[in-house]
């Protein structure tokens, strides 16, 4: 990374702790990513973006802010990026995929809590994340009790607006969510000082749909055997989707897909044809959490789809573009997000049906259900997933793990044994 020290200290980062993080990331990235065989050439852009994760992209955000723009941070795929963009703001997914600032986080949080929550609190309290420090507003949601209560604490350190995500998908839940989306639009207007118009919202809906279409095009290419791209690279792209510039990112994903189409035509892949294919499902894998995918793809299998928030749940439905008035547009936005199969909903049959459908569409041999420790919604829903997959005769491996590496040996044995079963 070039010299960004001045920018980082002006953001108030704890430079010593931040340096520690920057020392850990490149070797991990090298081992997990750069040693993969047959990577597509167009992954270069995404390597560059990761390499500049705390550099160039932060500089872009600072320039945007200098020109009067606002930055809004979020933790969840329920936060409508279209609305932020329609008011001239930039929406950023905040990182929470690494054990960091644990000592600071444990001053305000219980020790036994989901590592993702502990991570975002640690990033903020230890002042290690330049994205956090660039945010004018942070948006939380009520997709689990741990996050919901942690946002009250986080609000002591940065302004947090919490959107109430419903727990069911009845008519009145949809009405509630629409009200939440409208409130959010008003808040974004206040924060940015810009009005959202039918024209700006139509444009931003179209841009964000474009990003979703590019990601779906990538996902569709992974149905081919041999797989033209690894699951790890695909996950990385899905993670980058949450913080990169929307239009540039969309263009680069499409460019990558052009290359992958040529690969598919030539019958080339990252692993040999007939490599056991698995689908990963469960708790989101926030950047730089690549732990389980790395073990899977170094144990003789390839991941062909992620039924995750850092995966299909992020891009699988589009906002309808048939509305003309602002109100109807906001209804379309709200409706798109209610299609997400998050485990916060009860019951959540859509996720189970989706999984069975994905196994067929992607020709997968099995499913790996991966939950973070203390993630009750997904850990408990694993039972429903197991029941459904058993009925369909689809092999399943259930894993519960955190961000630490202490169980890596045992996980490797379990994943290898699962892959042996699929062969």
């Amino acid at each position: 990374m070039s010299n960004y020290s001045e920018m980082w200290s002006s953001l108030g980062l704890n430079l010593e702790a931040h340096d520690q993080l920057l020392k850990v990331l490149p070797p991990t990235y090298h081992d997990v990513y750069l040693t993969q065989p047959n990577r597509p050439k167009n992954m270069e852009y995404f390597d560059f973006v990761v390499n500049e994760i705390h550099g160039l992209r932060i500089q872009e955000l600072q320039e945007h802010k200098k020109a009067g723009g606002k930055v809004i941070g979020a933790f969840c795929v329920f936060v409508p990026e279209e609305i932020v963009r329609a008011a001239g703001g930039i929406c950023i997914g905040l990182c929470s995929g690494i054990d960091i600032g644990t000592a600071e986080a444990e001053q305000v949080l219980p020790r036994n809590i989901c590592p993702l929550i502990k991570s975002f609190m640690g990033f903020k309290l230890a002042k290690i994340c330049p994205y956090f420090e660039s945010c004018d507003l942070v948006v939380g949601e009520t997709t689990c009790d741990g996050k919901k209560k942690a946002f009250e604490i986080l609000n002591d350190y940065v302004p947090v607006h919490v959107m109430e995500t419903p727990q069911m998908k009845k008519g009145r839940d949809r009405d509630l969510w629409l009200e939440e989306v409208k409130d959010f639009a008003r808040l974004v207007e206040e924060t940015t000082g810009n009005q959202i118009s039918a024209a700006t919202l139509a444009r931003s809906i179209n841009e964000v749909n474009g990003k979703r279409r590019a990601l779906r095009r990538l996902a569709d290419l992974r149905k081919c055997d041999p797989a033209p791209i690894s699951g790890k690279d695909s996950l990385l792209i899905e993670q980058i989707a949450m913080y990169d510039d929307v239009e540039r990112f969309t263009a680069r994903v499409n460019q990558l897909c052009d290359e992958l189409e040529q690969r598919v035509q030539a019958g080339e892949g990252v692993f040999p044809a007939k490599t056991p294919r698995v689908i990963v499902t469960g708790t989101p894998m926030a950047i730089p959490n690549w732990k389980v995918p790395h073990i899977i793809e170094t144990s003789g299998a390839v991941i062909v789809a992620e039924e995750l928030c850092t995966g299909l749940r992020y891009f699988e439905n589009e906002v309808a573009e048939d509305a003309t008035g602002l109100d109807n547009m906001l209804e379309n936005v709200a409706a798109r997000y209610m299609g997400i199969n998050c485990a916060v909903f009860t019951p959540n049959p859509g996720r189970l049906e989706k999984l069975v459908q994905l196994v067929k569409e992607y020709n997968a041999g099995g499913v790996i259900h991966c939950t973070l420790s203390f993630c009750d919604p997904y850990a408990v829903e694993a039972n429903r997933v197991e029941k459904m997959l058993k009925q369909e005769g689809i092999p399943l491996l259930k894993i519960e793990t955190g961000y630490d590496q202490e169980d890596a040996g045992q996980l490797k044995t379990r994943i290898e044994a699962f892959v042996e079963m699929l062969k």
Partner: protein, 251 residues
């Protein structure tokens, strides 16, 4: 000739096959230089060597042609010794595995303890030491003489050890505490078997299968026969050797 080597946390098992006949077996402590120990066991030329156990990947970068997991290895080994086996319970030095097989001997499901080594060979070893027994063998034999009544509530090795020691201070009988510790391991193991939905015949492999108290208590608890092979610690190595012979035949 084909060789299978099982590099575990406590022991290294070795089996050499000619065709499907067992020619040689050996069992050594893992020690501090597991790969050295393994190399010494492989002191002649083998057409194919397959490694399993925790050290399998370092063995592959060193001398082994291929690796399989302990789960597959124990399944293959147990199915060779007892055709028709439907469940394998393997308790080794640091983990417990329950493996389900179909009627063709293929693995259909498995469970493994994660992270914590409670209830494994290491747990028994530490507890034997805390009670002043010379080894796990004596520990099991003495536990068989114990009276029921004490309950050990901690499964964590460290906490269970202090619990056992404080029971000693309170004047509880050594054999009774020993029995209680064995009961706690068996309860945990039986729970794991029931969670997976085990079927019979059930074969018990790994070093802990040598402990008569565990075997007896487990058979009582489940109400089924628990089959223990003559050398339960070598079943993984046998499975690896069988895998070496089969892949060689397939090529």
């Amino acid at each position: 000739m084909y060789a299978g080597i099982d590099i575990g946390s406590r022991t290294i098992g070795f089996v050499a096959l000619a065709g499907d006949r067992v020619l040689l077996t050996a069992l050594e402590d893992t020690g501090h230089e597991p790969l050295d120990t393994a190399r010494k066991l492989l002191n002649q030329k083998y057409a194919r060597v397959v490694a399993t156990g925790y050290g399998r990947h370092s063995a592959k970068s060193d001398f082994a042609h291929d690796v399989i997991t302990e789960i597959k290895a124990h399944a293959l080994g147990a199915a060779y010794l007892y055709p028709g086996v439907r469940t394998v319970l393997d308790i080794g030095g640091q983990d417990t595995k329950v493996i389900l097989l179909n009627d063709r001997g293929s693995v259909t499901d498995f469970q493994m303890n994660d992270r914590c080594s409670a209830g494994t060979g290491k747990f028994l070893e530490v507890m034997a030491g805390a009670l002043g027994y010379t080894g796990v063998g004596e520990f099991g034999e003495e536990a068989l003489k114990g009276k029921r009544g004490i309950k050990i509530s901690n499964m964590c090795t460290v906490f269970a050890e202090s619990e056992a020691v404080s029971l000693l201070h309170r004047g509880a009988g050594r054999e009774d505490i020993a029995l209680a510790l064995h009961v706690s391991v068996v309860e945990r193991t039986a729970g794991m078997l029931q969670r997976v939905g085990y079927k019979t015949p059930l074969v018990f492999t790994g070093g802990v299968a040598n402990n008569r108290c565990i075997v007896t208590l487990l058979a009582e608890k489940l109400g089924v026969e628990v089959i223990v092979p003559p050398q339960p610690q070598l079943v993984g190595a046998l499975g690896a050797a069988l895998a070496a012979a089969t892949t060689a035949a397939a090529q």
